[in-house]
């Protein structure tokens, strides 16, 4: 009985205070299960950005409206069904303006068509899988291989004159597999041959059969495309087999502190392209501030995926400001298309959808890993 | 004459089906007692209840001490050995290993070697077969091994379940002589047997079970003559 009375009192009290408006985003990502390594960091980035905005007084849109940012998190685990279910639940909740995430392609690929049908914006925070059919409601913040990989290979061809490229990739990770195929297909055009094209599956431990073949192929550059657990093992086993060659990857994986620890620094000197990510950078006070409050909040270093989460939430808040709405998804979608060279931690953001939801000004920095979480951009 | 085993008001049921209803029996030290009855009369269930292999109600006492509810492996350590129905040897173990299992509770100390020899003298055929897998023995040899496995732990009470089952008449004859010889050396025996005539020849006292109830009991001579036995067996 007591709780009922308390609730009644609360309802009465609320109208007295100015109606506190809320802009509500649904954050869907892989928080548990095998793809949690990426999803959980994005969720932390999103929640931290929302907290930072609310602590600084909330959102003030261009039409005088003031909002607090609200984020509800849904864990898609590693399942396609749960990702689509969570998206349908978010669409059915009229207070939700848009969906942030996911990172795993197992979630983003099936969510794209459903977002188009339910007319709710979705923005990928790390999934690089090729999308067969875009629609006006699907966006992607992170850089994708289509833009970055050919650029990187051209730079490496120019600087290192690589001739024989071997590739070892995870066939179950759509983004990783997509980039390996892209590098294979652009071999003639950029001027190198594909010495070996070896696949493995997430969860594998032993890569010696494939690496023995690669060792025999005498490749001078080896592209390694897989998730953290497998990529680290490939690097370690290459050292054990005495394979010496330039190592190449995408998505800035060599700059991830976790990968540095797992390989005891063997990724030093590796080349990768990535959006912008650094633990410290004198020229970037905004990064320094974020890294500082991130470590205070979560007790561990942020990764590129933490940046993606932070940036995605900030891009969404900017669009909400321009659309002066917390509920009209169509106006919000149109506002997203007005985002041009919007500065983010990991680079810039520009969207023109249709024709597709790619981030047209996603940063592509070809770099060489120099230390734990530090790298040098190649000019 | 001290009482080795006493059972009173024994009730055993499988789910809702009662198998044994208010059975009472005793085995004085040194005697051979038989439990007779047709198939499904509850003979095996009674034995299994005594060994603690099935849930049962009622009192079961060994030398005055209750053993109802004591786990099976401890009952064996109190000196009760079992020759199961169909012998149930460990067929993937050798003859020697089956004997070692028989003496598992006693450990295989120095006395074990001499006990093994005793068994091989009692059953010479087993000596030649000692390295063979128990599963490869003939029916008669398996029966010998089953008895040897039970005797090797020097029990005070030997419970035999249908020892004559599946054996040729000549083999049954020598088997019953051996049982008498073993008893003559002071070992009390409780024997479940369908072959009533043979059993009554060597048993001192017998109980007749019918559909889970005690239909009759008495000395072998009395039962031999009683019409109850004829009725149960000859369906008179």
């Amino acid at each position: 009985m007591k709780r009922f009375v308390l609730a009644a009192l609360m309802v009465v009290a609320v109208p007295a205070v100015a109606q506190e408006k809320v802009v509500h985003f649904s954050s869907i990502n892989g928080q548990t299960g095998q793809s949690a390594a990426y999803g959980s960091k994005v969720i932390e980035g999103v929640n931290l950005a929302a907290k930072a905005i609310n602590d600084a007084g909330g959102v003030a849109d261009r039409c005088g409206g003031k909002y607090k940012v609200k984020v509800t998190t849904g864990d898609m685990a590693n399942s396609r069904e749960q990702a689509v279910s969570l998206l349908r639940q978010a669409a059915a909740d009229s207070t939700v303006l848009a969906v942030v995430g996911p990172s795993p392609s197992t979630g983003y690929v099936p969510m794209v068509p459903v977002a188009g049908q339910l007319k709710i914006p979705v923005i990928a925070t790390g999934s690089a899988a090729p999308i067969k059919e875009w629609n006006p409601w699907a966006f992607r913040l992170n850089t994708t291989s289509k833009v970055a990989a050919p650029g990187m290979m051209k730079t490496l061809k120019a600087k290192l004159d690589i001739k024989h490229v071997a590739l070892i990739y995870d066939v179950t990770q759509d983004g990783q597999r997509g980039e390996a195929e892209l590098i294979r297909n652009s071999a003639k055009e950029i001027g190198y041959d594909v010495a070996a094209f070896e696949a493995f599956r997430a969860g594998d431990n032993d890569f010696r059969p494939q690496l023995s073949k690669i060792k025999a192929s005498k490749a001078d550059a080896i592209g390694i495309y897989g998730a953290t657990p497998e990529l680290a093992k490939v690097v370690n086993q290459m050292a054990e087999l005495g394979i010496k060659a330039n190592i190449v990857t995408g998505f800035g994986t060599f700059n991830d502190p976790v990968v540095w620890d797992l390989t005891e620094g063997k990724v030093k000197g590796g080349y990768s392209w990535s959006a912008y990510f650094a633990l410290e950078d004198p020229a970037r006070p905004d990064i320094a501030k974020m890294v500082q409050i991130y470590k205070k909040e979560y007790g561990h270093d942020p990764t590129l995926y933490s940046f993606y989460g932070w940036d995605a939430l900030n891009v969404y808040v900017e669009a909400a400001k321009r659309a002066c709405t917390a509920t009209d998804r169509e106006k919000f979608r149109q506002a997203l298309n007005t985002i041009e060279n919007f500065p983010t931690l990991s680079g810039k953001a520009t969207f023109k959808n249709p024709p597709d939801g790619e981030n047209l000004s996603a940063a592509v920095i070809v770099n060489q890993t120099t230390g734990r979480g530090t790298f040098e951009a190649l000019k | 004459m001290s009482l080795l085993l006493r059972v009173k008001d024994l009730e055993v049921s499988y789910g809702a089906v009662p198998a044994v209803k208010r059975v009472a029996l005793e085995v004085p030290a040194g005697e051979i007692r038989a439990i007779l009855g047709a198939n499904g009369a509850g003979k095996s269930s009674t034995i299994k209840a005594i060994l603690g292999l099935v849930k049962a109600r009622g009192t079961i006492e060994l030398e005055g001490r209750p053993i109802h509810g004591v786990p099976t492996h401890r009952i064996h350590q109190l000196g009760v050995a079992w020759v199961p129905e169909g012998r149930q040897l460990f067929s993937t173990l050798t003859v020697h290993e089956n004997l070692e299992m028989g003496a598992f509770a006693r450990g295989d100390g120095p006395r074990f070697a001499s006990r093994v020899d005793e068994m091989f003298t009692l059953f010479p055929r087993l000596r030649e077969r000692r390295g063979q897998l128990a599963g490869s023995l003939s029916g008669g040899e398996q029966q010998m091994l089953a008895i040897a496995r039970a005797l090797i732990s020097e029990p005070r009470l030997l419970i035999m379940d249908e020892p004559s089952l599946g054996l040729a008449p000549k083999v049954v004859q020598s088997l019953f002589e051996q049982i008498q010889a073993i008893n003559a050396r002071g070992l009390s025996i409780l024997m479940v047997e369908q072959n009533a005539r043979q059993a009554l020849k060597i048993a001192h006292y017998a109980y007749l079970l019918e559909v889970g109830r005690l239909a009759a009991e008495g000395t072998s001579a009395a039962l031999m003559a009683s019409e109850d036995v004829q009725r149960v067996y000859l369906g008179g």
Binding site: G33, E81, L86, R177 | -
Partner: protein, 268 residues
Amino acid sequence: MFWTPVLITAGINSIIALGLYITMSSGPLSVAHAALAGMGGYLGAVLTTNFGWPFALAILAGVLLGLVTGMLLGLLIVRMNELVAGLTTLGFGETMAVIAFNIDYIGGANAFTGIPLRTTLPLVYAVLAVILFVAWRYDHSRLGYAARATRDSPVTADAMGINITWVKSITFGIGAAIAALGGVLRAHYILVQGPEDMGFFISVGFLIFVVFGGSYVFWGPLFGAMTLTILPELLRFSTKDRFIIYGVLLTVMVILRPQGFITRRSMR
């Protein structure tokens, strides 16, 4: 409606679980039903997406594919006991997953996408009602009794003149057809059909639904599938510990009710 996606998934899982129930009624512990559902899903999706077939025809095609594959599998394992039959289906399921992985026409590792949305809540529960009716009729049919006789003691069933090979094959076929039907419905709701849905661990999930719910009466798999699909959603309040609680609950519940939650009156 917030709970629609969960209810649709629970309904589809119940359909597939009922298919598994019918297959298991003649004995085999099949862990192929996720693969059979996946095959139905792939075929239905290709027909509606690439060939523009109407949804009803795509369902029929999926069901036929399931029936034929199921009957063949049933013949393959007729000589095996319960556990070994189940394990052969493990090989079938995983091999199907790897084959789907390597066929680019159906999207390979990137899964087959762009499937039109056809499955709705009313349709799922209408189909579920029909399947429940089929299972109820099956339980009381000659085939149903023959199947249970075959499961409980093949020797006596043989002696009673039951053609065991035919019974095992047709029950596996019907069960597989129903699972394929569930697969087609799922594909046209999730709008993506991938190879991962066909593997061993997914099939084990369906096996747990049936045995947990009670594999002796058709209400069992329905109860099992509904409970164990909705339960993880109820546990969403603790996002981090959701699966720890789910695992512990699964173990505790199966220990408390080993014979399954719903049992025949005679087995109470």
